[in-house]
């Protein structure tokens, strides 16, 4: 039986192709089919799988007659449709209600509170609840974000009710007290309700909370603190009833306090799966895709003690020069790098992950060395724009 993968990138398609004889790749319109399918093996179908009515019609007409062995997705927009199809077809996967709790931050906050682990929540309110928002603001700045946002889009740090009320379509936004501290992401795998961390990354952000680096293992967390973070994640996943499969959870740590930022039933993006592979020897993409088929990935041990993914940014404007990233240190090497722009391209203001201009994977002798090298690389102006002189 085929494995159905929703919204695969070329990397994900390649990983999935190691798991099943044939794939059914379901992609959004505009897919580059040639980069995804194996000749004479895989099927590829395009549709807007975020349209529930269309997805149901698709499932009933084309999947029910020949159900796949499982329906999986490791992209943010695909996890809920995948759960919907799994439910429709009766194939194994993360239950739809669980995915909805991870996708909707208001639902997630409610579940956390109801489970008696409210200390993992920041103070929060609906963006339409003026009084509650006012109360939050009395304690300090707040974060306004869409309840179902992705890729750091539309996240705002605001300090007044007026700013909150200026947000269009406030019904879809949640307001949370801004919590100081360092943010970590924990990729975990759950089996029968037992949650195991496969990698913890320390995150750095810039501007409107756009992620600019991930360092694994986290240089700023002691082993004891790492254990407490993992415990918090386990409590969260229990509260959401996520018993099987991958999760990517973001947690802010300030002293002894831990606040869950968000969680997803998929592996982390931004190359985190590669960091897990480099430091733990786990094929995290394959593990995240194959679990409904009963396929488990062994931990083979990492090739390096630490690794990092660093992203380059540049001031908005026209690209005037690009340079090859290089490091003048012996304890970190650049494993791979790439730029998304070239001279003459326009760089937009940094509002989301899509506005980053390049990336590099680093392998290092220690997490601290990777963290420092990430900062050095980011300071070295790999991409220069005329906006820098303005």
């Amino acid at each position: 039986m085929a494995l159905l993968v929703l919204g695969a990138s070329a990397n994900i398609a390649r990983a999935a192709q190691t798991l099943a004889e044939a794939l059914i790749l379901v992609q959004m319109s505009g897919a580059d089919a040639r980069a995804l399918v194996r000749d004479d093996v895989d099927e590829l179908l395009t549709l807007d799988f975020t349209d529930r009515e269309l997805l149901e019609s698709f499932g009933r007409a084309l999947l029910e007659p020949r159900p796949p062995a499982a329906v999986v997705s490791v992209t943010e927009h695909g996890v809920e449709p995948a759960a919907f199809l799994s439910h429709l077809l009766g194939t194994p996967g993360t239950p739809l209600k669980v995915v909805e709790r991870t996708r909707n931050k208001s639902l997630m906050r409610s579940r956390i509170a109801a489970a008696g682990i409210g200390h993992l929540n920041p103070a929060y309110a609906s963006a339409t609840d003026r009084d509650a928002v006012r109360q939050l603001l009395e304690a300090g700045p707040v974060i306004v974000k869409p309840v179902d946002g992705t890729a750091s889009e539309q996240i705002m740090l605001v300090r007044s009710v007026q700013e909150v009320e200026a947000v269009p379509d406030r019904e879809g936004f949640i307001v949370e007290s801004y919590v100081e501290g360092i943010e970590y992401s924990i990729d975990s795998f759950s089996h029968n309700g037992i949650h195991t961390a496969v990698g913890i990354a320390e995150k750095a952000t810039e501007g409107p909370f756009v992620e600019i680096s991930h360092v694994m293992p986290p240089p700023s967390l002691t082993p004891d603190a790492q254990a407490r973070v993992c415990q918090a994640v386990a409590e969260l996943l229990d509260a959401l009833e996520l018993a099987d499969g991958p999760a990517h959870t973001e947690v802010k740590v300030a002293g002894d306090a831990m606040i869950v930022v968000e969680t997803h039933n998929r592996p982390g993006g931004d190359g985190i799966a590669d960091l897990v592979g480099m430091t733990r020897g786990i094929d995290w993409r394959r593990a995240s895709l194959g679990w409904p088929l009963g396929i488990r990935e062994p931990e083979r041990g990492g090739d390096v003690p630490a690794a990092a993914m660093v992203f380059f940014t540049a001031p908005p404007g026209t690209v005037t020069a690009v340079e090859t990233p290089s490091l003048e240190r012996s304890d970190v090497t650049i494993v791979e790098w790439g730029l998304d722009v070239s001279v003459g391209d326009q760089v937009r203001e940094l509002r989301s992950s899509r506005d980053r201009v390049g990336w590099a994977f680093l392998a290092g002798e220690s997490p601290e060395a990777c963290r420092d090298a990430s900062a050095e690389l980011r300071a070295s102006d790999i991409v220069r724009t005329d906006g820098a002189q303005l």
Partner: protein, 414 residues
């Protein structure tokens, strides 16, 4: 206008560069294709953002997906140019009330017995004698002398055609083809060269027609051999063929589309109908028609299936050149090599090399390793140029049992 294209050929052949044969905005184009046979080669998401890649041999799946696309997206027109998809497309059109040829009419261009029976019933007599074979039937005699053709009612690309010299051979061929699950017929073998007529029909009227002669009979394909066809230069012969073809299309009730009709020509000069399809001919026929007449058959076929009348005003009434396609099949060992040097031969308009996709066999009559379009001002010059091209290809490959250049000289009689 929303259009669904079911493609089984090389994608560029069916839809044109960037899908520009399809008269719809890219977002309104839906494409079902396969990876095999370059069906996905050159696909650009900007030309066909709505792409569906399937195993096209899985008929049930193909039909499921096609129906779902049409119903869900409100597709207005369904385009299919491969023989294997013509009936499926007609049935879906009919059931979903889409314009275009329906099943009963299309069947006459697909079922080689019904085709001839319909012509007979319409008063057309220039047919080989034929009869249907019952499953498992042992043929004891045939009511004609000479060789017998055993072939599938539903064959494609001459792959299910056998020429039998005697009754034992007839029964041997019958058993072989039946094992493939075919329904069969037998018909008398007609001596003489074969011709084809490629026509554009709009609302039952033939608005363009290009007669050509086959260099080798389509059923005679095999490793290392040479095939192809050349536009007919003789104006009398051309007109006779056009008349025959028009009559056949009229009786069969062709509505709108591009057709590919085949005829034998007895030594007496009489034409005898072989078969006709309601889709464009393959193997470079469109290239020689474009070279000789300036008419793009594939674009016209797609347009007509989309309810758009093709603009043929720039097409010539007579061929302006002697244009032909030369196809050289893969050699038996499959060790064929690209020979683009042939482009240096004067009059060589294009050269395409296709590495063998399935080892050890020539799959059908247009499964060429080398496909070369050659032009000349006279038939003699054409023959000389083709000889040279074939020799150049041969210099790089295993020599065929036959001398292809000699075969060509014997066959090209235009």
């Amino acid at each position: 206008m929303k259009v669904l294209v079911i493609n089984r050929h090389a994608l560029k052949w069916t839809t044109g560069p960037n899908g520009d044969y399809v008269p719809a905005e890219p977002s309104d184009r839906f494409l079902i294709t396969r990876t095999f046979g370059s069906g996905l080669a050159g696909h650009g998401p900007q030309s066909f953002p709505n792409v569906f890649v399937l195993d096209m041999e899985d008929r049930e799946r193909l039909e499921q997906v096609a129906r779902w696309i049409i119903r869900t997206h409100g597709v207005d027109f369904l385009v299919a140019l491969h023989e294997k998809d013509m009936l499926l497309a007609a049935r879906i059109r009919e059931e979903l009330d889409l314009p275009g040829m329906y099943h009963e009419r299309t069947l006459r261009f697909r079922d080689k017995i019904l085709m001839k029976e319909t012509l007979l019933a319409g008063g057309y007599r220039k047919l080989p004698r034929f009869r249907k074979l019952a499953p498992g039937e042992v043929v004891e005699s045939v009511p004609w002398s000479g060789k017998t053709v055993v072939k599938s009612r539903w064959g494609v690309g001459s792959s299910q055609v056998r020429i039998a010299a005697d009754i034992d051979a007839v029964n041997g061929a019958r058993a072989e083809l039946e094992r493939m699950g075919d329904e069969l017929e037998i018909e008398e073998f007609i001596e003489g060269p074969m011709y084809h007529c490629d026509s554009v029909v709009r609302d039952g009227e033939v608005i363009f027609s290009a007669p050509s002669q086959y260099i080798a009979r389509p059923g005679e394909y095999g490793p290392g051999r040479v095939a192809g066809s050349v536009l007919v230069s003789d104006s009398n012969l051309r007109e006779k063929l056009r008349r025959e073809d028009s009559e056949v299309l009229r009786i069969l009730g062709m509505e709108s589309g591009v057709t590919h009709g085949e005829f034998f020509r007895r030594p007496s000069g009489e034409f005898v109908f072989c078969e006709v399809a309601a889709r464009p001919g393959g193997g470079g026929i469109d290239d020689i028609v474009a070279a000789g007449y300036g008419v793009e058959l594939i674009r016209a076929a797609v347009q007509l299936q989309c309810g758009v009348s093709p603009d043929l005003t720039h097409g010539a009434k007579q061929p302006t050149t002697v244009a032909g396609v030369i196809g050289i099949y893969h050699s038996a060992d499959g060790q064929d090599r690209e020979t683009s040097d042939v482009l240096a031969v004067p009059g060589t308009r294009s050269y395409e090399f296709a590495p063998q996709e399935l080892p050890g066999a020539v799959r059908h009559c247009t499964d060429y390793a080398h496909k070369i379009i050659v032009e000349a001002t006279t038939p003699e010059e054409f023959t000389a140029r083709v000889e040279r091209v074939v020799q150049m290809v041969r210099r790089t490959e295993v020599v065929s049992e036959q001398d292809p250049a000699a075969e060509m000289r014997a066959r090209v009689t235009t």
